[in-house]
Amino acid sequence: MSKDTDRRAFLKGSVLLPALGAAACSPPATHQDDLAASAPAAATPAAADYKPAFFTPAEWAFVQAACARLIPNDANGPGALELGVPQFIDRQMGTPYGAAAAWYMQGPFFEGKPEFGYQSQLTPKQQYRLGIRAIDAWCAKTHGKVLADLDAKTQDDVLKQVEAGKVKSDDLPLDVFFTAFLLKNVMEGYFGDPMYGGNRDMAAWKMIGHPGARADFLEWVDKPAAYPYGPVDLHGRQA
């Protein structure tokens, strides 16, 4: 446990002190095992030499190109590519989410009114596989190159057309792939804790003024002013 987590564990512990004195109903004594289990998952922030586990080289080039356009690097701060978002998405594909493990995926599958939400049997992994293939095929047919090889302006134009449902595929609705998977996961990776592989050095939090995992504002909640402290991540690092 780092010094910083120690400090915060102590601060958090201080509100529990009265509980320890309760006669009838104090919470059961906390064991070392419990405290170990309350630690966040291992931190594996974005790495410079990351090798994708799920995406093929062609898909990886697409994901990197899309990240660079969806959240570009500009005067306001680094973009999704710089913060490791492609790594975040690749790693998410290896979690239960990638396999839609918590979704109801039994058939029969019917298209329905949009208000009834996702009705496809495609998992997130299958969405990426089919979605990238379809968009790259459309780019090759229309522009003679896959998305990653197009210039930024043309990439933006392609992504806008995909978002608007103007690029069609027999395999899947590409506007759904764009909004409910690609863009959604890019946002998650950009703003999620760095331990998941995106938001390197908490730069996205710094850009918008989000303090990350500080989670303690008793002295600040009634002050409508700028909060003075920078973010902290789940492993206690400050930025």
Partner: protein, 591 residues
């Protein structure tokens, strides 16, 4: 052949709020009580300890605390003529799972109910006349009065350590509280929480508009507190991880913070996890419950005999168990007859984001689930509905519940969804955006109901519960009325613009975007067995040793958040079981 366990006095299905309340109260009465929980065991430490739980990816994006829909879900449709489709991903409502149930990831808004809502049909008829009720609207009285429930509302608030300021103690108006409040017997256990910026702006604006803002009652403790069971609760630190999250500070009331530490010490109480109940078993007379059948963690079928069965799971599962156990007559929307599945309701929720200039700091990352200022000027029947021609009302609030960027950064109308301009917009707006909402009632209609889906089954091979529900004209016109109020309040707050969702005529129930988990009805309570599944003591009319708890006993979707009423009804049922039923088991209301 099923494994058969040793009989117990009481078996409780589900160990969330109502299960924990019934368990401790019946165990205190000396009964041997067993609770069966379908999910895992979980507790503040280690599951919601800092820093692990303040993780937006795990909790908000991946729904860490919610029901795993791959195991069981529901199907949805707007109309009886439609084919229902499965609720494949979490959207409009968020059922929980595991010990503590939805009492873990809730926000903490802890209201009661407006007295006239419990006798809505009588009240509307008396004030506006029978013709004011539109065709197809199925108004009913609940068969219980606010005064009967008052001690139990009080009890649940004192168990939770609820923060608030009384507006009406024993019929005497109490300054500083909600002037529309129904009489309470005493002050809240704790004073109101500090107001975050959204609430301060909301209170000022609504006061200027001539309304009566008050501190929303919150089961998020404003001070250290010891409850009647001897459980200690710590003060909320506005961490901003509340709804969707377990509480790091023992501050948000949950079964884990307020009941289970005492309950676990009782020798005549035990519980099993990974025990998914699929059936209430009845004797051959069909009038006596003999126990339940559940599927254990290894997939084995187990029979648990019991002298009394309490359904205390979440709404969806309680209703489905009644249907799959064939207890009570299923509702038929064609004839309007039958009771199980009848009066399925939700609430209507309008939510708008209020954007302020850069000198106004909202700091939305700070907050607490229940903290906020609210007005009841348009709640229930606190205003004359005659000129407006709709039935129902709502509470309007400026809450600040805690919002992080993975949960979504709202932007003004017309802002792009990605690219450099989007990035500029999130940078400009994040710290300066608040949210105000109107939470409205939802009336019962003849065509809105629950039954078993003919096509889809869950991982246990059981038919899914099917929901048939859509917004009706009465509710949509009410929603438009509240939309106008919200926009006027946003303007008075000094917002430079507002964007969000106002449900209006032509809109349909959208099950994709989160609204609230306040689904209700399906096993209504009441005085008439022809229109209710349970009597006023939440006792099945058909099987007197079966008690059914939860918001499924509502007869319409009330204006306030349901948990306060659900908890009070649980204490009410427990008190009557203890004081009356146990002395003379059998029907507590004769027909």
């Amino acid at each position: 052949m099923a494994i058969r366990n040793k009989p117990v006095d009481v078996v409780i299905v589900g160990l969330g709020w109502t299960g924990a309340i019934l368990a401790i109260e019946l165990a205190k009465a000396g009964l041997e009580v067993l609770a069966l929980e379908r999910g895992e065991d979980q507790d503040t430490v280690p599951d919601w300890a800092y820093p692990k739980v303040v993780d937006e990816i795990a909790q908000s994006a991946r729904n860490g605390l919610l029901q795993n829909l791959s195991k069981t879900t529901v199907t949805l449709r707007h109309d009886q003529a439609d084919r229902a489709l499965p609720y494949r991903q979490i959207g409009s409502f968020k059922p929980g799972t595991g010990v503590g149930g939805a009492g873990i990831h809730w926000s903490g808004v802890h209201s009661r109910v407006m007295p006239e809502e419990l006798r809505l049909k009588s009240h509307v008829t008396e004030r506006y006349g029978r013709k004011f009720i539109p065709e197809g609207m199925q108004l009913q009285d609940w068969g219980i009065t606010y005064d009967e429930l008052e001690p139990h509302f009080d009890r649940f608030e004192y168990v939770c350590g609820t923060s608030g300021k009384a507006g009406n103690i024993g019929g005497v108006k109490s300054p500083g509280g909600n002037p529309f409040e129904a009489a309470r017997s005493r002050e809240f256990p704790l004073p109101p929480l500090k107001d975050p910026p959204t609430s301060v702006l909301f209170a000022k604006a609504t006061r200027e508009l001539g309304y009566n803002p008050y501190s929303l009652p919150a089961a998020n403790a404003s001070q250290p507190y010891r409850n009647p069971y001897g459980c200690d609760i710590g003060p909320c630190n506005f961490c901003g991880f509340c709804s969707d999250y377990g509480c790091i500070n023992y501050s948000k009331a949950s079964p884990q913070t307020t009941i289970l530490p005492a309950l676990r010490q009782m020798k005549n109480f035990s519980y099993k996890t990974n025990a998914h109940v699929v059936r209430v078993n009845t004797a051959s007379d069909g009038k006596t419950a003999t126990g339940v059948t559940y599927i254990d963690g290894q997939g084995r079928e187990v029979e648990q005999p019991a002298g009394m069965v309490v359904l205390a799971a979440f709404h969806l599962h309680n209703v489905r168990l009644m249907l799959s156990s064939k207890i009570g007559k299923p509702y038929d929307p064609k004839t309007g007859e039958g009771v199980i599945g009848r009066n399925f309701c939700y609430q209507v929720l309008n939510s708008i984001n209020t954007f302020f200039d850069k000198s106004t700091y909202i700091n939305p990352f700070m907050g607490s689930g229940g903290v906020g200022q609210a007005i009841d000027d348009f709640n229930a029947d606190n205003f004359d509905h005659g000129p407006h021609g709709f039935i129902g009302g709502g509470v309007i609030w400026g809450r600040q519940t805690g919002a992080g960027p993975v949960r979504g950064i709202p932007l003004p109308k017309g802002a792009p969804k990605w690219g450099s301009s989007w990035k500029q917009a999130v940078k400009d707006n994040y710290l300066h955006t608040g949210r105000i909402e109107a939470q409205m009632s939802n009336m019962a209609y003849r065509g809105a109901f629950l039954d078993l889906d003919p096509t889809y089954r869950d991982a246990y091979g059981e038919p899914l519960l099917r929901m048939t529900l859509d917004w009706q004209d009465n509710d949509l016109r009410m929603s438009e009325f509240f939309g106008d109020k919200l926009n006027a309040i946003a303007k008075a707050m000094g917002a430079t613009s507002a964007s969000g969702r106002i449900i209006k005529r032509g809109d349909h129930w959208d099950t994709r975007a989160y609204q609230s988990t306040h689904i209700n009805g399906g096993t209504s309570m009441g005085a008439d067995p022809k229109t209710s599944a349970v009597n006023k003591y939440l006792q099945s009319w058909d099987v007197p040793n079966l008690f059914v708890l939860g918001a499924n006993v509502f007869t319409h979707g009330i204006c306030y958040n349901p948990t306060g009423l659900v908890g009070a009804l649980a204490y009410w049922a427990a008190a009557n079981i203890r004081d009356t039923y146990l002395k003379s088991p059998g029907p507590m209301v004769r027909t």
